[in-house]
Symmetry: C3
Subunit: 468 residues, 3 copies
């Protein structure tokens, strides 16, 4: 018995299934391009063993533990740390058992597919996880984790990852990336420039962050010109560690292109902590356009991740902090929001701005029409809740007719769950092949063209969009 | 010839169809749990015959007659009563003929499926309804209605209904429910607490309604504390007649969690009729949180039905009043709207708040992420215009990947058309089995798990969500 | 080898495909009703040859050239005229080559299906277009265009067009339509009344346009009463040239039903150029209701095309003007927006108002519930980015269950690309038959009823909605 169906995610109709399988076979073994994610670079710097099954699969993955929480399991029972440092479950085996006995909650979800894929294809397990098999699973995985072959670098190579981007804040010294480079290990793990903490006037400690930015860069970062120069230096520093992109996680997609003196004035208010909410928002929006202008110079691809109401539950945030599964998508506008940036730089053929959304209604209505016109725009893949079979299908069906395939940017896994990377890319590859097979079978794509498109969606478009 | 296809709503692909049929056979005969609807409890109290085919199928069902209206048939020609008491068509046979000759308007709609199901499976008819067969139909159905076996209680038993909830206003004396109980009949017909008229400052006669509430409960309901106590008493009274839930039909999903003194002040303004629109809205929103707190004490499940612009046509409302097919869905926000309630009680594992929507765009973007995190939340089934084959498919496809099956609450028929109850539950069962079959065939759900999920969706989840 | 699959757009499952094909065969050869589009009436007045392949397929079709622009091809390289009259590519063969070498960008889009359909079925080509075949294509098509059989009237007849509506502004003298009429040619090419330039206070030259309106009609059009009378005269004039409809391309669907004196006052402000943005919007909205009232008198069908942010890119608009592929859909409200008009005339069975949208989220939530209730409303087909296989499927799936087929208005091609007309209608016919086949196979539509519905969707409903 296997946990995963070899024909999973292919259409059920036999002729379609055959077409999809054939396309998939042509691209299944391509290396993984992972240009956006949240793996910890220290894994590859230190190459230490992963501590135990619970800390590999449950505790750090809010995709996973929030589902148990939604059915009444307290966060503390799952070992999720408390802000006050108070007690939480510390026995990984107990955490694992709670996970196992609730594994039915994941039926029909991509999480169950990713987890079963990891269990079977990474750890060689072929029995279903449940309360009865919890300990067998725990012992088996824990045993494997002790082996050399299950250390981060070995898995990276086994996963056939050609390039993996992590994400670091603008003030990060990139010591882990330096350690990887200095180690002489050949894996390509690169960083991404994420300047939210020095771009968002409402970020905790904004003024101090700017002080630190000045210190690190030697630029007078508390003046507007010095501030922009400091960004340029940090971007150059990140590029030394492989960065080919910046990433911006704003609540909305708002952009502005303010006169320099207005931007400079807002910046001073931001430093003084006197921005109104509206002014802070305008400043964040303006900085996206500044970043795009810097991208024109240094070639970094600009990623805009918009639309999440972070830390929606006040009590959960107070008790456990960020990233606990309580980030909820919001309705998001792009048409008006992006106009200032697009009027400034949208027609530049050498700029790449990748748009992500958590609001699927904008695929066909806003994003595909924009990407189907502006040379600077590319559509990022379905993100977060939507990098799933249905999510990918809806994305392709809603965007392809308007902007085609070549205004999209391949797949991102966006994950901090290392073992799920092959599973997630596999889901994307299968889902895309299922879509292409449907187009071929219904006369919407020439059969002769489909393998090339499959290759582009899997490999070529991500490399191009991220200059990898 | 039959009016209904034995394989209706199953996927066309033979292997998928086989899987769906097999799953369906395992749950087709389960009893009906109908935890939310609008049947008249007097039917079961009095057990009188239904008057005639037109009054059974056409006149009271705005799902049905609005379609004829949309093509130019006047409401008065269909016997829909006028506010001024003026003349409307009074010959049920003429109404039936108008309905029959326009039956093609329902092609492709769930109404046609429900009606044909009733015609065939309740009344044993196997010829299509049209102008030619109108009188044959009328005579046949009218004849059946005269039989004992077609009285409400007999049909209730034949429909295999295990529990049927009706909906009564907070001031209702529940005399019909009392009569059912006193009759000794074994059918489980229960009430639901619907306090809109004493919770909404803009409801007609709000202040008088509160006076009545005081009178009924013996509480000083014109004081804030007395008002809350009166609610508690009425909820207890409704529980005596089986209520396991309250229901709240607000235009939006707005909630508030105001300081008690602010709420008390708004309540006094509401009594004085001096609330602004905004204040009335805030008060309604606050009362949802108060109701949720009462639910923590008395265990009633809280249902929020949001998003309908009631009585959209001013002339139709003036001429014919409420519930005439002119309630139109609106764009509805949940993420910001529910935050006050969720911050107050969302993490309570012993509370059940069921969310309904008429805005399908929120399934994946808002509702599933919320229900996939907060223990107190469950998603109600597709509602009103959307309890249909496509509606159910979209609901499952958009929610399952994010919140799974176990954060949903089974099916509701929400109907006042008694004969359509088995048809509607059958549509839900078939649609769910079609979805599950697709998951199995595409490797997203283990075949061994599917029958249990089908059983849960049909029976277990509704019983659990409504404490039935 | 063929460029088009004879079974394109039919479902892949063999039984479904057979059903769809059978339905399609019953309606494939019906004449084309094209009640809304943007062909140039001078083509049929003058019957001159189309100049060359680039000016037939690329230069005038922003559906097509924007895709090349989105990948960095400058508009000027494609021969798109500049506002300043400056140089652009003038060699049609070079333009054609750029188009050919980028033809892969259209993979999976309806554009590729329309273009391949034209290449194969209009021009008899059976090899794929790409850089290698560019010149062969060019020479072949250019040769054909020189033949009598490829002149506009001959193609019109060969395309089996029963009626084709063009769109002219209110001030147009309709000389091309007069020339067609005077020519004695039998093709039915009719006009449509499009009064945006004399209804929208923010239209360039509004006051002068009203002066012209006065001049043309002999009415004192700068008074409110004279202005309405002038509209009535122009509508009558357009009716002389076959018009059966008016068309209104507003940014939103806002309507108003203001007291006459308020409307008159706004009109004077509009003439004086002193309207605020809100007042201009209110005036536009009010004029929709006035137009609807005129329709009650003269029988013109009223079309509302809402939801496009025109000329989104400021630099592209400055350099190249309108209609350059940079019109982007916006979120659009209908429920509140249409209420004033619907309260005024929505219950009139003799009025037809056809609603179009670029916001697919409103299909099920707003438009179908409205059209399923108000006798005056019909739903226009999926429009612009959405008259495609997926767009039509989503439209049918989201609307049919709520408003049925008979509250929809058949298909519009809405195109200025003459050769694509048969292709577009063919896509609609195939997509509708695929949908109907699915309904039949899943027991949602009687097999006996399906051919009649297919005929209605293809032919009957458009003729009825537009009084053709």
């Amino acid at each position: 018995m296997a946990l995963t169906d070899p024909d999973r995610l292919f259409p059920a109709e036999p002729a379609l299934r055959g077409l999809a399988r054939e396309l998939y076979e042509g691209i299944a073994d391509l290396p993984i391009i992972s240009p956006h994610g949240h793996c910890d670079p220290r894994w590859f710097a230190e190459n230490a063993r992963f501590p135990n099954p619970a800390e590999l699969f449950v505790v750090p993955d809010h995709y996973v533990f929030r589902m148990l929480v939604s059915q009444g399991v307290p966060l503390t029972d799952l070992g999720v740390p408390r802000v006050d440092g108070g007690a939480t479950e510390s026995d990984p085996r107990l955490i694992w058992r709670r996970f196992a006995e609730n594994f039915h909650l994941f039926r029909g979800t991509p999480s169950s597919m990713w987890l079963n894929h990891s269990f079977e294809h990474v750890f060689g397990i072929d029995i279903p996880l449940n309360a009865d098999t919890a300990d067998t699973y725990y012992d088996h995985i824990d045993g494997k984790l002790a082996e050399e072959a299950f250390r981060p670098r070995a898995l990276f190579e086994r996963f056939n990852i050609e390039a993996l981007a992590t994400t670091e804040g603008a003030l990060d010294d990139l010591s882990a990336h330096r350690a990887i480079r200095d180690s002489g290990w050949g894996g390509r793990v690169i960083t991404t420039y994420r300047p939210d903490s020095v771009v968002d006037p409402e970020f905790e400690g904004f003024a101090e962050n700017i002080e630190k930015l000045a210190e690190i860069t030697g630029e007078p970062a508390t003046t507007w010109e010095g501030y922009l120069a400091a960004h340029r230096k940090r971007r150059a520093y990140f590029k030394e560690f492989g960065a080919t992109a910046s990433d911006h996680g704003h609540a909305t997609a708002r952009t502005e292109d303010l006169p320099q003196e207005v931007a400079a004035e807002l910046f001073q208010k931001a430093l003084a902590g006197t921005c109104t909410g509206e002014e802070a928002d305008a400043f964040r929006g303006h900085m996206l356009t500044e970043m795009a202008r810097m991208s024109l110079d240094d070639g970094l691809t600009l990623q805009i991740h918009a639309g999440s109401w972070r830390n929606h539950s006040a009590p959960v945030f107070a008790a456990h902090g960020r990233d606990k599964g309580f980030d909820i998508p919001m309705r998001t506008d792009y048409v008006g929001a992006l106009k200032p940036l697009l009027d400034a730089v949208g027609m530049e053929p050498d700029l790449t701005v990748i748009l992500f959304t958590l609001d699927e209604t904008v695929y066909g209505r806003e994003l595909a029409p924009l990407a189907g016109a502006y040379p600077a725009l590319r559509l990022g893949p379905p993100w977060w809740f939507f990098d799933s079979a249905e999510g990918i299908r809806r994305f392709r069906e809603a965007t392809t007719e308007t902007c085609g395939f070549y205004n999209t940017a391949g797949f991102n896994d966006d994950t901090r769950a290392f073992c799920s990377i092959p599973a997630r890319h596999d889901v994307a590859r299968r889902s895309d092949c299922a879509y292409l097979a449907t187009l071929v079978a219904t006369g919407r794509l020439a059969e002769a063209d489909a393998p090339e498109v499959a290759h582009d969606l899997t490999y070529g478009l991500a490399k191009a969009a991220y200059n990898l």
